[in-house]
C-alpha cells in the first residue's frame, strides 16, 4: 500500500511538472507581454516617464529574461530578481491588471470554484446511483425508457446553452435572476441566514447545469454495468437461495458495478471543471472562470498561468483521490500495486 501511494504521488508530481511547462508555453505564445504592450502604448502617447516606470517593472518581474529562465523563476526552481519566489514557494506572482498579488485577486474565487466542483461531483453521484439502480432493475419499462431518453438529451445538450436558456426563462416566468452568486442586495451585507439561502438558491442552477451531462453519462455506464452483473451466476444463486431482492442487489452486483463508477471520476473531472469555467462565464458566477477569460485577453500572464495551473491541480488531485478510493475498494489494485 505504501509503495502504491508513493508511486501515485511521484506520477502526480511529474504530471504537474509537465503541465506547468505546457501552461507556461501556452501563456507565452502571444508575442509581447502585458508590460511591453503598455510600454508601447505609453511611448505612442509620448509619456516617457511612465514608460520608463513600466520598463523598470518589466525588469522587476523578470520579464526581460530568456523564456526558459522566466519559467524556472515562475515555478520557483531558480532565484528571480526578487529571490526565490515561485509557485513552489507559494508565491503566485503579481497581477498587472489588478495591480495586486495574484493570491489577493483569486482568493475568494478559488474557494468557490472548489466548492462548486465538489458539490457537482456529489450531485452527480447522488442523482445517478438511484436512477441507474432503478432503470437497470426494470429494464425496458417506461421509466427505463424515459431515463435512457434523458441520458441522450443530457449528453447532447451543451451546458452553456442550457444555462443561457434557463437564465432567460427563469427570469421571464418567475422573475428570478439566477446570475451571480447572490442577490445583489446582499453584496455588502454581513453573513446572515437570508444571505446564505440566497447563495444556496443561486448555486442550484449552475450545479444542475454543470452536472447534467456527467449525470447522464454516469447513469448510462452504471446501468450497463449493473445489467451485466445482474446476469452473472452469483446473483442468480443469491436470488435462488432466497436473499431478499434489495439485499441481493445491494450486497453483490451493486458493489461490483460501483468499481468502474469510482474509476470514472477521473474522466468526469476534467469535463466538470471545463463545464464549470464555461457555465460560470454565462451565469457570471464569481469562480475563476471569468477571471481567467479576462486575464487571457489582457495577457496578464502570472494570473492566467496560475489559474490554469490551479484548474489542472484540481483535476489531478481529484484523480488521485479517485485512485485512492478505488484502491480502498478493490484489493486487486492495492495488492497489484496499481494497474
Amino acid at each position: 500500500m505504501i509503495l502504491f501511494l508513493l508511486r501515485r504521488f511521484i506520477t502526480m508530481a511529474l504530471t504537474l511538472l509537465a503541465i506547468s511547462a505546457l501552461v507556461f508555453i501556452v501563456i507565452k505564445l502571444p508575442p509581447g507581454d502585458y508590460l511591453s504592450n503598455q510600454i508601447e502604448e505609453l511611448r505612442a502617447q509620448g509619456d516617457a516617464a511612465a514608460a520608463a516606470k513600466a520598463e523598470f517593472l518589466r525588469h522587476q518581474y523578470g520579464l526581460d529574461l530568456p523564456v526558459w529562465q522566466q519559467y524556472l523563476v515562475w515555478v520557483g526552481a531558480m532565484p528571480g530578481p526578487n529571490g526565490w519566489a515561485g509557485l513552489l514557494q507559494g508565491d503566485w506572482g503579481w497581477s498587472f491588471e489588478y495591480q495586486r498579488p495574484v493570491n489577493e485577486v483569486v482568493n475568494r474565487a478559488l474557494a468557490l470554484t472548489i466548492l462548486v466542483n465538489i458539490v457537482v461531483v456529489i450531485f452527480v453521484h447522488i442523482v445517478s446511483i438511484p436512477i441507474a439502480l432503478y432503470s437497470a432493475t426494470r429494464q425496458y419499462s417506461l421509466g427505463d425508457t424515459l431515463v435512457t431518453l434523458f441520458g441522450y438529451l443530457g449528453l447532447a445538450t451543451p451546458n452553456f446553452l442550457l444555462a443561457l436558456v434557463l437564465l432567460y426563462y427563469l427570469n421571464r416566468w418567475f422573475g428570478v435572476s439566477i446570475g451571480g452568486l447572490m442577490d445583489p442586495r446582499f453584496n455588502d451585507a454581513p453573513m446572515s441566514m437570508a444571505k446564505m439561502s440566497s447563495i444556496l438558491s443561486h448555486l442550484i442552477v449552475p450545479v444542475v447545469v454543470i452536472g447534467l451531462s456527467g449525470t447522464a453519462a454516469m447513469i448510462r455506464r452504471m446501468r450497463a454495468n449493473l445489467l451485466d452483473e445482474l446476469q452473472k451466476p452469483y446473483t442468480v444463486t443469491a436470488r435462488a437461495k432466497g436473499v431478499p431482492p434489495m439485499r441481493a442487489l445491494i450486497k453483490y452486483p451493486f458493489r461490483m458495478a460501483l468499481n468502474p463508477f469510482v474509476a470514472d471520476i477521473g474522466n468526469l473531472l476534467p469535463h466538470l471543471v471545463s463545464g464549470s469555467v464555461l457555465v460560470s462565464l454565462v451565469l457570471s458566477l464569481p469562480t475563476v472562470g471569468p477571471i481567467l477569460l479576462q486575464a487571457l485577453k489582457m495577457q496578464d500572464q502570472f494570473l492566467a498561468g496560475f489559474i490554469l495551473m490551479f484548474v489542472a491541480v484540481l483535476t489531478v488531485v481529484g484523480m488521485l483521490i479517485s485512485d485512492l478510493l478505488l484502491a480502498a475498494l478493490d484489493p486487486r489494485i492495492r495488492i497489484g500495486g496499481g494497474a
Binding site: 503541465i19 505564445l29 452553456f160 421571464r172 476534467p270 464555461l278 477569460l293 487571457l296 490554469l308
Partner: protein, 393 residues
C-alpha cells in the same frame, strides 16, 4: 485420480437413428438465397445492413447528409444575404408564416409590420398589420449574390414578398435577417467539426500507430502525453490557445487556427483506441498466418490491421465531432473564437451573451437550435455506427 473409460451400451436401433450412408463433404445442404447473400456480403455491406436497423441513427444520418449537401448552396437557400442590413428593421421580431387569412386558404404568407419607436419606454414596437397578407415567393429572383466566383446570380429558394419583408426568425441589432445568417453560419459551424476531426484523426492514427507498433520508449512517451492531456480540462486550454492567436490575423486564418486548436487537443482518445486495437490485433491468428506466409510489415499493417479497426475509428471519430462543434460555439460565444465577418452559430450566439438584449429580443437565442439538433444527430449517428462497426459480432 484415474478411471477406466466406461463404455455405455449404445442404444442402437429403435431409440437412436444413425445414417448408414458414408459422409460425403461435397454434398451439403444448399444455402438459401438469403444465406448466400449474407455470406457473400462484403464487410461494408454488413455494416450498412446493421446500421440500417438502427432507425434513429439512420434518420440522423439522412438529416446530416442533407445539411452537408446543402452547404455549397447556402446562398440560394437563404432568403437574404449574410450581411445585408435593413436599417428600418432593427431588432425586428420574427414574422410567423401563416396559411389562412380570415378563414380563407392563401398559401404561405406573412403579415407586414410597421416600426414605431416608443418614446415612453424607449423600446422598438412593431405593429403588425393584419389586413394585408403578403405572399412568400418560392423559386424566385431575389437579392443578387456571387456564386462561388462564377458570376452574379439571384435565384433563391424562397424570397420575401414584393415590397415586403420576411424575417422568419427576426433580425439582429443591425437589421440582418437571422434565418439567413443561421443558414450561412451552418457552412462554418459544420466544417469546423470536419476539419478538426481530420487533424485529430491524422495525429491520433500516427501517434497511436507508432505507440502500438514500436512499443518501448515511444509507447511510454505517447502514453504519458495522453495521460497528461486527458487530465487537463480542455476548455481553459482552448481559451488560452485561442487567446494566443495574434489579433492582426485575417478571420479566415483565425478560422483555420481555431479548428487546428480544437483538433490538437482531441487526439488522445483516438490514439489510445488505435494503440489498444493494434496491440490486440497483433496477437490474432490471421496476423500470424500472414507473417508465416512472408508478408512484409507494411503489408500486414496496411492490409490486415488497419482495415480491421478502421470502422471502429471512424465511429469513434464521429462521436467526437459534436464536441468540436460545441468547442467552436463556446469559443466564439465567449468572443475568443471566430470573428466577424466569418459567421458561425457561435458568432451569432455571441450577441445573445448580453442578458438585457436577450430579455428584450429573445429570438437572438435561435442559433442555439441548430447547434443542439446537429449535436444530437451526430451523437445518434455515432452510436449507430459504433454498434454497426463490428458486424461479425
Amino acid at each position: 485420480m484415474s478411471s477406466a473409460p466406461v463404455t455405455m451400451p449404445a442404444p442402437l436401433g429403435e431409440t437412436h437413428w444413425v445414417n448408414p450412408a458414408p459422409f460425403n463433404p461435397d454434398v451439403t445442404k444448399p444455402m438459401t438465397a438469403e444465406e448466400e447473400r449474407y455470406y457473400r456480403a462484403s464487410g461494408l455491406q454488413l455494416i450498412w445492413w446493421k446500421f440500417k436497423r438502427h432507425r434513429v441513427a439512420l434518420v440522423s444520418a439522412i438529416f446530416l447528409a442533407l445539411l452537408y449537401i446543402s452547404l455549397p448552396f447556402v446562398e440560394m437557400i437563404a432568403p437574404y444575404g449574410m450581411t445585408s442590413r435593413h436599417a428600418d428593421h432593427l431588432y425586428a421580431p420574427p414574422q410567423p408564416i401563416h396559411l389562412f387569412h380570415e378563414g380563407k386558404f392563401e398559401g404561405p404568407f406573412v403579415y407586414p409590420y410597421k416600426f414605431k419607436f416608443n418614446l415612453e419606454t424607449f423600446t422598438r414596437d412593431y405593429v403588425v398589420d393584419r389586413t394585408t397578407p403578403q405572399k412568400l415567393r418560392f423559386f424566385c429572383r431575389g437579392e443578387a449574390y456571387d456564386f462561388w466566383g462564377m458570376g452574379k446570380m439571384n435565384a433563391h429558394l424562397m424570397c420575401p414578398p414584393e415590397n415586403g419583408t420576411a424575417f422568419l426568425l427576426g433580425t439582429d441589432r443591425l437589421g440582418r435577417d437571422l434565418l439567413s445568417r443561421i443558414i450561412y453560419g451552418a457552412r462554418i459551424s459544420l466544417t469546423v467539426g470536419l476539419i478538426g476531426i481530420a487533424v485529430s484523426f491524422v495525429i491520433g492514427l500516427t501517434l497511436g500507430g507508432l505507440a502500438g507498433y514500436l512499443g518501448g520508449w515511444v509507447d511510454a512517451t505517447v502514453q504519458r502525453s495522453i495521460e497528461i492531456l486527458r487530465s487537463l480540462p480542455e476548455l481553459p486550454l482552448w481559451l488560452a490557445l485561442s487567446a494566443a492567436l495574434p489579433v492582426n490575423w485575417s478571420p479566415i486564418l483565425v478560422f483555420f487556427a481555431i479548428t487546428i486548436i480544437l483538433g490538437l487537443l482531441d487526439w488522445p482518445g483516438l490514439a489510445r483506441a488505435v494503440r489498444s486495437k493494434l496491440l490486440a490485433l497483433r496477437e490474432e491468428d490471421f496476423v500470424k498466418a500472414a507473417e508465416l506466409m512472408g508478408a512484409s510489415r507494411t503489408r500486414i499493417i496496411g492490409r490486415h490491421l488497419v482495415p480491421n479497426f478502421m470502422s471502429h475509428l471512424i465511429a469513434s471519430a464521429t462521436l467526437s465531432i459534436p464536441s468540436m462543434i460545441l468547442g467552436e460555439t463556446a469559443l466564439s460565444f465567449l468572443g475568443l473564437g471566430l470573428r466577424p465577418p466569418v459567421t458561425s452559430w457561435g458568432v451569432l450566439l455571441n450577441e445573445a451573451q448580453n442578458l438585457a438584449a436577450v430579455n428584450l429580443y429573445p429570438w437572438l437565442l435561435f442559433p442555439m437550435l441548430p447547434v443542439i439538433l446537429v449535436v444530437l444527430a451526430f451523437n445518434f449517428m455515432g452510436d449507430g455506427l459504433r454498434d454497426a462497426a463490428d458486424p461479425y459480432h
